[in-house]
Each structure stands twice: as C-alpha cells, then as structure tokens.
C-alpha cells in the first residue's frame, strides 16, 4: 500500500530499483539523511528550528546547500556515475529553490528519505516530480573510513 502511494507520487521511479528501506520516522529529513545524520532535520529555515551547519547562510538557494555539503568535504561533481572510493550526493530543485537530496549507494543506486516518511532506494531521476522538481547538481567526496 505504501509502495503504491509512493509510486504514484513519483511516477519516474523505476519499479526494479525502487524499494522501501526503512520504517517511517519524523526524526530526520532528506538533507540530513544525505549528510549522514539520522538524528536531526537539516534545513536553512530563517527561524532556526532546523539544524544548519554553522556559518552557512540560511537561505533556500543552491549556494547555501552547496556550502552546507562543502562543510562535510563534498565538492561539486560533473557526473553521477559510481566511482570506487567516492561517495556522491544529489540535490534536486524546483526552479531556484532546492527541495530534496539523495545519496548514492555502493550499488550505484540512490537512496532518499522522503520528508517525514520512509527511506527508499531508487534510480537517480526517480524522485523527480512536481514537488521535488529536477536534479540540480551532484557533489562528491572521498569515502571516509571510520575505524
């Protein structure tokens, strides 16, 4: 039932790649998830309700999102292909306003947290729709190994 509802919200989802990969939780959002934080909401809201990296402008614009991920070591990337030793995130936008982030899995598929709902795996452009808009840019960094 949930899968069906998500598929109808995101008609570009490839049915082969699409999977629900977590239960619903309000604990974190898509930006936090792409940043590796499963404990907080990341968003540059002017009221300071959500977490946003210190020193990064609180505006819903590309530059603010780029800077936020730069604080984690990501840099702009020219492609979305799977590269050994690199991890990538994708930012989606509706016009000039970023709306969503996804991260690449080791399989080459992508993974997203859908608002306060579930995590899913998907084809990169599968989350493009009227609300999330289109893929805006990709960022990448060297995979960090924690011992």
């Amino acid at each position: 039932m949930r899968e069906q509802a998500i598929r109808s919200t995101f008609p570009a989802l490839d049915p082969v790649d699409f999977r629900l990969t977590s239960p619903q939780t309000p604990a974190y959002n898509c930006i936090a998830y792409a940043a590796g934080d499963h404990r907080r909401w990341w968003w540059p809201d002017p009221d300071g309700i959500c977490y946003w990296p210190p020193g990064v402008q609180r505006t819903v614009r590309f530059q603010a999102f780029q800077h936020a991920f730069e604080t984690l070591g990501y840099r702009l990337s020219s492609d979305e292909s799977l590269v050994t030793g690199r991890e990538k995130i994708a930012i989606f936008a509706n016009g000039p306003e970023p709306t969503h982030a996804a991260k690449q899995l080791a399989s080459g598929l992508w993974s997203s947290k859908l608002g306060r709902l579930e995590d899913i795996s998907h084809n990169l452009l599968g989350v493009e729709n009227q609300e999330y808009g289109e893929l805006a840019f990709i960022m990448e960094r060297t995979i960090r190994v924690t011992l």
Binding site: A27, W41, W42, D45, I49, Y51, W52
Partner: protein, 57 residues
C-alpha cells in the same frame, strides 16, 4: 486563535512530532529549544512540553 492554539499544537506534536515549532515560537514569542537541540524533533517536543508545564504551574 493565538493563545488557545498552544495546547492544541503541543498536543499534536506530542502525538505526532512535526515541525510546528515555528508556529509555537511566533504565537508565544518564546523559544525554549536550546541551540544544541536544533533539528532534533524529539528534543524540541520535550522542550515545548516542559515549557508548557512550567507555564501552567
């Protein structure tokens, strides 16, 4: 609605945590959430519930 909405909003975020904290701040003119708790939905809910308890005493 203003003041009357406060217990309703706090009741709602207790049952189903959501980002209604901005509305609470604007209505009450207060923000009991510490900087460390920014974005932590459960910590923010707790802060507002405690704030409401103190207010009702």
């Amino acid at each position: 609605m203003g003041e009357k909405a406060i217990p309703l909003i706090i009741g709602e975020i207790s049952r189903q945590p959501d980002l209604l904290f901005g509305a609470l701040s604007r209505i009450t003119g207060e923000n009991p959430v510490s900087k460390n708790a920014q974005g932590d939905v459960y910590a923010m809910v707790t802060a507002w519930i405690e704030w409401n308890r103190r207010r009702q005493k």
